[in-house]
Amino acid sequence: MEYLNLILAILFQLAQLLLVVLLAPLLTGWVNQCQAWLQNRSGAGVLQPYRVLRKLFQKDAVIAYNASPLFRVTPYIVFGCMWLAAAIIPIIAVDLPFSQAADVIALVGVFAVARVFLALAAMDIGTAFGSLGARREMLVSFLAEPALLMVFFTASMISHSTQMPRIVDALAHHQFMLYPSLAFAALAFVIVLLAENARIPVDNPTTHLELTMIHEAMILEYSARHLALIEWASSLKLFAYISIGIALFLPHGIVAVGNWAGLPLAIAFLLLKMLAAGAGLAVFEAISAKLRIFRAPEFLGTAFLLAVLGLLIHFLLGA
């Protein structure tokens, strides 16, 4: 019986790993397609990211003369980190083997590792844009990370655990209850999501203006398979972040391991939530202008403040 449970858990884990890595570009495509519609364009279709990936994997990589091995390994590390992050989060089922191994604080750490490597690789080849982007990325992330931790702490306080499955379990599978503290945390989380995924108003993922880029400036020198991995990792990151949002704030529908019957419904719920989140992201981006870069700290300061307010409310109201 023990063995059977373990095998089931591993199967669930593998299913989730495959699902996220295959679905992540679809989410990016969906967001882009929504944006195209909102801008009166017909758009390239939701499958475009897959075509881009196929194109990039077929190309020959061009690498700068003075690139060190760090530059070459970074795409693999970043991709690995994002995939791992997506594996930790309970997306379709709780109590996955991977999520036992790492809690939410480790999750923040996994994101940080990817970022550090990306920033180092950007500076590695010594172009002005690389270091410019790395510098800005650090400015944004050192403000976003504490806010993200605060959001996690609020959720952890409610569920008395920093383990993702416990949090989801506590929020989804016990009696229904409204948590005002989580509402504040959710707002803070949305801001962090925008900043960390290089979205408008902090960064513009579609810009061609090299002087305004943050994330894109760091990866300007990458091409072919390396670029493909980084693009894919970006999709995974967005997918992971939205999954975290779902797990923390809309966890209803995530099944317990072994509940085969609930699985189709769980996947359907997941897709529905993803569609809604992607469309919401596109709407928000369509109506926002990009912030002047020194306004980004204020924007992220707001996120931190909201997350702290969430914590305070939890202490004061116990909810």
Partner: protein, 542 residues
């Protein structure tokens, strides 16, 4: 007459413009320039010509302008040592024009403080000058370094391996001004950019995100347009003039035609003049719509881009339907126009004007009320009116910095003398001001189009195509294009062939101001500031 000087005899150019010309010696140049400058005048254009066959020397030509008119000064220089006193101390805008004149003709500004090359990028040797009549193109060309052998995979030999193998190869060095200090570093941008735009190099000296200094290096699209003109007939030249800077094709073609008509002493049919004004305003509308969309895009509001570009596309399609070309190229020729406007075309334009009026008003409301957008626009890239006056900022950007100058108003040539153009000006000189001026001019152009359609005379035109100009002629034409004043000067030789044609883009004056506008702004705001000026590379690289 705008200038009085004992050694200067001015004669009126037979022209639609209040323009005079006169010969002076290099010794009087400073005094006259100082006089014009102190009287509130400014420099419009500076170019040289090789007149050794006609008058035994080189010539330097300057167009100065003040409220009462414009004067073209011809300075005679010696054939052996063509030199003239530097005037960039009086008119800072002269600096790059003087350097370009040296690169192309070898006439030298004495006592100048800046003699770096400008248009010569190592494509020809430093001792040879393309616009001289005895220029040997084949002997002056600098070969490129050997291309890497093909079929060797993706490894391209580094410049160090191939660079000095060819002894003729002259590395293109340019002395950028260095900013020194703790924490100061440089960002070189371009000439190849990550978007599809014209090439230009920008050297930023920054501390953190703050711009301490920006230095431009242009000339990457030098195509030898002026040399090409020399071997063209008058009508072929009209085609080339319309391609100096594609977004201002109507303005250039009209200025060229105006210069040619001034030499020939003819006036085109009235209806042709009205149609020219209609085309010019349509060009202005299309470009302003495009820029307003781009300005939205540069603050990541793609909504603005797509809405304005839908409108621009509608204008371009109507251009194609009514006039046969989306960008209205080759519609204005010396002597008249090659298009006519029927009743159906009139209706199309009327409907389009109504539609644009309504749509743009709506979009302007959205732009004005979008807090995030206004936060990016207001106070960004400011050019104070005082600085603008000092450095001679002109055109649209000038009007946004309180430089109330519009050739359609000050020198209203037919048919603008009957149109009463309302000039749009603003004092703040920031990106927001340049957006406001664009909106205001857009509405004014729509009004002008309706008025032109109402007043368009229906006389039977007598087609008058100029084929040949009189000998030893000189004429200038100036038109207020959407970016600013576009000037074309034509010199003819004894047989009446084009011997020198100089197209002048307002970007010459405005590029240096961009360097000033970004000081103390942050690096990510540069693209926005740059787009708010939207200057031409091709028009100044020639």
């Amino acid at each position: 007459m705008p200038i009085k000087h004992p050694n200067l005899k001015l004669s009126r150019l037979t022209d639609a413009l209040p323009a005079w010309t006169g010969d002076i010696s290099p010794d009087d140049l400073h005094e006259i320039c100082r006089q014009v400058h102190d009287g509130g005048g400014r420099l419009v254009a500076l170019w040289g010509s090789d007149a050794r066959l006609q008058s035994g020397g080189f010539k330097l030509h300057l167009v100065l302008v003040n409220e009462t008119g414009m004067v073209c000064l011809n300075v005679t220089l010696s054939a052996e040592q063509p030199m003239y006193p530097d005037i960039s101390q009086i008119f800072p805008a002269a600096n790059r024009m003087q350097r370009a004149t040296y690169d192309l003709l070898g006439i030298y500004a004495q006592e100048g403080h800046d003699h770096r090359k400008w248009l010569r990028h190592g494509a020809w040797h430093s001792g040879s000058f393309p616009l001289r009549k005895d220029f040997d193109a084949a002997a002056s060309r600098i070969p490129l370094p050997n291309p890497p052998p093909e079929g060797e995979g993706t490894t391209v030999p580094s410049p160090a391996e191939t660079g000095d193998k060819d002894k003729f190869y002259e590395p293109d060095d340019y002395g950028f001004v260095r900013v020194e200090g703790q924490g100061v570093h440089e960002i070189p941008v371009g000439p190849v950019h990550s978007g599809i735009i014209e090439p230009g190099h920008f050297r930023f000296s920054i501390i953190g995100e703050r711009v301490l200094r920006l230095e431009e290096r242009l000339g990457y699209v030098h195509k030898g347009i002026e040399k090409r003109f020399e071997s063209m007939s008058l009508q072929q030249g009209a085609k080339l003039a319309g391609r100096v800077s594609g977004d201002s094709t109507v303005a250039y073609a009209w200025a060229y035609a105006m210069a040619a008509e001034s030499i020939a002493g003819v006036t085109p049919p009235k209806r042709a003049l009205w149609l020219r004004a209609l085309l010019l305003e349509r060009e202005r509308v299309a470009n302003h719509l495009g820029d307003l969309g781009y300005l939205g895009n540069d603050v990541a509001l793609s909504f603005g881009l797509s809405q304005f570009w839908i409108l621009k596309e509608q204008v371009l399609r109507n251009n194609a339907t009514v006039f046969g070309h989306r960008y209205l190229m080759d519609k204005i020729v010396p002597g008249g126009v090659t298009v006519n406007l029927d009743v159906e075309g009139k209706h199309i334009i009327e409907r389009e004007c109504d539609m644009l009026e309504q749509q743009v008003r709506l979009l302007r409301g959205i732009y004005d009320e979008h807090a995030g957008m206004q936060d990016r626009f207001i106070g960004t890239g400011r050019v104070e009116p005082k600085l603008a006056a000092q450095l001679g900022l002109c055109g649209l950007a000038g009007r946004a910095s309180a430089q109330a100058w519009d050739a359609r108003v000050q020198f209203a040539c037919a048919p603008y003398d009957k149109l009463n153009v309302q000039m749009a000006t603003y004092r703040n000189g920031d990106v927001a001001a340049r957006v406001i001026v664009r909106f205001d001019e857009l509405f004014e152009s729509l009004r002008l189009q309706s008025e032109i359609l109402a007043k368009l005379v229906n006389e039977e035109d007598t087609p008058l195509l100029l084929e040949k100009l009189p000998g030893n002629g000189f004429g200038i034409g100036m038109v207020e294009g959407w970016r600013g004043e576009v000037l074309v000067a034509i010199h003819t030789d004894a047989e009446g062939n084009l011997t020198r044609v100089h197209p002048h883009d307002p970007s010459w004056q405005n590029w240096p101001l961009l360097e000033h506008a970004v000081i103390d702004n942050i690096v990510p705001d540069f693209p926005l500031i740059n787009k708010s000026f939207n200057l031409s590379y091709s028009g100044q690289d020639l």
